[in-house]
Amino acid sequence: MSAETKVPTGADFEPSTWTGVVRKRWLKNLPPEKMLPESQPSYVASWIYVFGMATIVAMVIAIVTGVIITLGGVQWFHESSTGRFFNSTHYWSVQLFFLFMVVHLWGKYWMSAWRGKRALTWITGVLAFLTAVGVGFTGYVITTNFNAQWIAFEAKDVMNAIGVGSVFNVTNLGQMVTFHVAPLPLALGIIVVAHILLVRRHGVVPPLDAIDPALESATAASTDETEAVAS
């Protein structure tokens, strides 16, 4: 590459490689000002808009404490006071995670949050909820107490009834631990990241009686294009 060769910046270039195609598409859909905004519309200043982030914070605490108790081991988090603290924090962060997520779900449902091309944002939210139920369920069945045994033996009939009991055996402690610490939280993390990126791309959904800035700018852009074509 010569010293005069200019590396194109921004999305205004013709890509010749797949990395260029990915970059152009990324920058077109999620420019830096959308990805990391410095301000939000005024309607976001409401407590009902807090619960999405509260859910994420609770999830991060659950993941961090989960990693800590996994590294410490069962004996440590059952018998030492520090271990029991992290074990309890893991449990209560999950309770708050579901509590905040349900309030977030209600808030978004009653403002029809799938409006303005936000269907995929809604769908990833539903997927995150269902995956979180799976993570929570596998967490309950690996606590090795009578409660866990009861839940597992109730759930095994459901798993057998839907035909997945042979590959997802809820009474197999080792398999449930693996599902709880690896594939399910990983899937949840990926879905939540996708959900957040979609919120960034389409903007936070406005209340029903407010004007959607995302749609307003899109309408203005299409009007400009129409006027340009007409002239």
Binding site: A45, S46, W47, I48, V50, F51, Q95, L99, V102, V103, W106, G107, N145, F146, N147
Partner: protein
Amino acid sequence: MNLDQPASYWQIWDWISVSIPNLIVIVVMLLLFVLALVLPFPKGSDAE
């Protein structure tokens, strides 16, 4: 307090019942939802 025992249930009607711990969580969620809608949101120092 031994939490490793069956919870007490509220038999609402015939086959409909809810455990007291679940009922508490549901009531807290409903309360949070209503409060989030009616409580004023604090304004930041740079709010216009």
